[in-house]
Symmetry: D2
Subunit: 339 residues, 4 copies
């Protein structure tokens, strides 16, 4: 932390700040400048709380310098994490593709989509059994019934099941039927839920919250890892901005930003990231080109009949086309992305 | 819903859209214009799902017209809701003031603050026992121990206790010890939690999420009310924007916006809404001037020793000054605010 | 500036950074910490450019510490600036009220509004002759014709004329007919224009840009002042955020934020700040309560016939009511706001 | 436009609205629904102004339906515009690459970079002679001196010169020395400037403003085209959001969004779009993968000595690597992007 004094701060005020710093057991480094003095703080093991200083006399600002997370960082682990799910993996050389409907609506629908997902060579199937819906009057998912259908799909097609849990009892169920627990954007700071999945033996797919900064997102991963579960996959799915031509603004710069700090794999969700069918494939291409470890995509056999998010779901044909396009890009950039 | 056709849409495409509308059991109203045709939809009981139409041939856009909520609206209940908590109330003629520390840290701290809150004439005491913290390494609250201290404060000072629950088991505890259940900004779309408090006998203080639109916020209230609990108080606490001179941007226009749609009372939180001690009082004044039903404010007997959010906590003296300023404004604008 | 080294930076890399700092003529202050080294920089007269350091080996981050502006700051001038316009002033004890139509549309319209503005006791009349319109097909203002009407209003009512200039030739005209040159939100970073008004003898009303940070806004004022014109009035008029219930989000925390840094007076524009008639008065009250030096408000004798921005214009009756409400608040908070 | 009446609007109020619509010469289409009536408006040649209706009794909302622009749309011109600059083009089959330093700093610097740009096969050279700088104390560009150096580069290397004009006199100069006039993000709504370049014989590169919606951006292009200059190239360069890990958030979904509405070519600027050297190449790849017609990239022979924006400039080696990567992606997706 760096304490910046006001231009007219007195020597006595500088000394008072130094005293507070030392009182907290840290070391103070006063640096008198042409117009004002700044005081560096070292010797802290964890992040220093700015509020000790902000309201002291003569203080203009307290600037946080060190980052508040540890386990997620490259400082702790220099090589990239590869999350293994049975014989499939996320973060390795192969592009990970997770595809399926927004919500499991029926056995027929889920199997029709799974058939196409399997054919495309993807290794993961997504489908919601518990849907976080903005309105209490909207379709909320089939619940355990939906999870059973997903388990059947794993048996029939060998696809690994990625599905969301909204609360602790949902985690219990996903642990019984699924392979990867998805934490949705709205739950990114549901700390009770993060701690619960931190104790799970299943990998966790952690979506970025709609208004989450990079630090908040990484700290959410840190919550999970601090409970002992190191199998965490990050997923950029769009942030909320003033732009109205998309449902969310897909922040693809988050991918290199995560890479520079963290060893965790990171995916892109072009479906929620745009909310519009015609944008999904272009943004999926962009997500792979920017260097993501994979994609999570919504596919439906009859998008115009979908009970949720139909506007963004790809048809089976569109999905197959997407896979062939992103695979071609992945091949071309593979050496670059690794760097 | 209004379906806007593309300029070059054929008559056949218009007919197809009409057919889909009628197939859903609605009534279609085609309106041919100079450059393009629009088709109105009526006869729907609940919100029409845009995704049925957005990808049909010839469709440019599906514009949602009716609002997806009911119970929160003035259409349903024309007079303003007054939430009663024992002999105190929120939404009535008196300005409701909820004050106290961010987190209960000790019996001494809580009683020192409560003493000042009582003296100021406020009727509600706030204090967190369960703190949602961005970092897993930050102070997480005293838990049930903190709730017991809060219950003692109620007994000692007659203050009503407002405290946050983060999950279902937290609601059980708050029901035992508290008077109003606070749902924090990060939990605004924790639908499991919303349903649980919807079944509570206690009133609910529902904070707006950091990136929540007005509709999403009102729908979160609708979730609670749809379970039978009509005692909901809304609270604006700042949204996330590009601006960096505050922790959040307090959106005071949300107060008249809520008033125009809903009968629910609405408060302002100038502490989280700014994150800076020196801004709390000016924004508290503004919140009352804009017509809020009350304030929720963080006060600490020793802000520079606070275990959380000390930078925004008022000292006891600052708090007393705030109360006298906002009371004066409330008196002046009372007739205006009622309108 | 503070250079934060990576955790694994070598001693040699730290030395290289020190060498670069000293090469630029500054003084380096290395501070070895538990996990990483930070290096403070002092001895710079102007802001240090981060780009000298960000790409050096071993550097994690370059954190800017000192602010890039001078003339606007309280460091330079401790007492508040009062901008005098003839016998009227902005920034003094009296609340400054600037009112009038968005655009001057006709002599009749302008006089009808001016009559009411005069009657309310306001000292300033606003009205656009050159309108920056998002669409090339929208009404663009009466031009010099409009300025002549404004000059007549000054003669008839003694009101000071505040009107916008969009370009250098517009400034020439405003200097001939008006009293205060308004720089609109869209022009806040039109540096050619800022330099031109910096050479004017007229005071300048500088609106905050839709996406301007506090620093950018103050630097725009600095541009004007650096050319010699110290008569600058700031005006908060709403920023662009995700919120859709208003045209812009009025950021009232900007008022105390400006106060803490700068000696310049600052106004609030609740008309553009909300874009909705029914919100203007509540937000005007809030603007005065937060401590602004005054308001700029749109008033029209027939809002539903207005050629621009009719949705936000107050009727004459609404305007009179607003003035009486904000005056009452100003009286109550006057001592507080001064602090 | 669609007028949505309140649930409790009377029949008389509906009739009044119909009367106002017809009074404006339009046709009204009342659609009584289960809970409220909506009234469609047709017969308008230009956009209907919502403010005629928003404050009428019984009106809940006025929803704009038709778009306010024409010349930019596919409705007007179905085939894509190819902007020709001598023997080079933007919007055709070849990926357009515009590269060069942020600012022309010296003849040596400009020639060193131009040499590498030429070698890479790019056809356009960028370099600022007039720099819009946030601070009045920052380097403002070499002015006409810089333009002369750019003209020499055109002669020496056959590169087309893309350079920014900040005001009308700047356009005069760019017309003398350059090939494409750049309108920067801060000038996107400088309507005087837009009209001036609308009368130029040179093509215009129009950057999206930091907080511009898609409609505002297209309307800025409409301003230029409405003056007769149809050679407009759009450029996405990042928008302002809450995210702080980049200077701006590059909104790549804007590319397919523009494509769906407009025939104009659209580029991506990964340099300003991220502000960080290490992100430029990944985002350049993403920009090409999403289907942009080309890139504009900052390159410097000595980024750490740059007088402006050094932190985001690529070295010559990094630039060469970027070109080879994006060319490979362009080849792979070419058929897809055309669609």
């Amino acid at each position: 932390m760096l304490i910046v004094m006001k231009a007219d701060a007195t020597e006595g005020q500088v000394k008072d700040v130094v005293r507070v710093i030392e009182g907290l057991g840290y070391k103070a480094h006063p640096m008198p400048g042409a117009s004002r003095t700044a005081i560096g703080i070292t010797g802290n093991q964890t992040a220093v709380d700015a509020s000790h200083f902000e309201n002291l006399a003569g203080v203009a600002e307290a600037v946080r310098v060190s980052k508040p997370y540890k386990l997620v960082t490259l400082d702790l682990r220099a090589e990239k994490t590869i999350v293994r799910v049975g014989d499939a993996e996320i973060g390795g050389e192969e592009l990970a593709i997770i595809a399926g409907p927004c919500a499991v609506e029926s056995r027929n629908q889920a199997f029709a989509v799974a058939e196409a997902v399997r054919r495309s060579g993807a290794r993961f199937f997504r489908g919601g059994a518990f849907k976080p819906r903005t309105s209490p009057y909207a379709f909320q998912g089939l619940g355990e019934e939906g999870l059973k259908i997903l388990a059947e799909i794993r048996d029939a097609y060998g696809l690994k099941i990625v599905t969301e849990a909204l609360d602790e009892s949902g985690v219990d169920l996903v642990e019984r039927y699924g392979d990867v627990i998805q934490i949705g954007a709205r739950s990114m700071q549901n700390f009770t839920l993060l701690r619960r999945v931190g104790k799970s033996r299943l990998p966790v797919l952690l979506k970025r919250g709609l208004s989450a900064t990079l630090d908040e997102w990484l700290l959410a991963a840190e919550y999970i890892m601090s409970e002992g579960n190191y199998q965490v996959v990050l997923c950029e799915r769009g942030i909320r901005t003033f732009a109205q031509h998309t449902r969310n603004t897909l922040d693809l710069a988050a991918i290199p930003a995560v890479r520079r700090i963290s060893h965790l794999p990171v995916l892109v969700d072009p479906s929620h990231g745009t909310g519009k069918n015609y944008m999904v494939t272009p943004l999926a291409r962009a997500g792979v080109a920017v260097g993501a470890d994979g994609l999570i995509v919504e596919v439906h056999d009859q998008p115009d009949q979908a009970l949720s998010d139909g506007a963004q779901a790809l048809t089976l044909e569109q999905y197959e086309q997407l896979v062939s396009e992103v695979r071609a890009i992945h091949e071309v950039i593979a050496p670059a992305a690794v760097t």
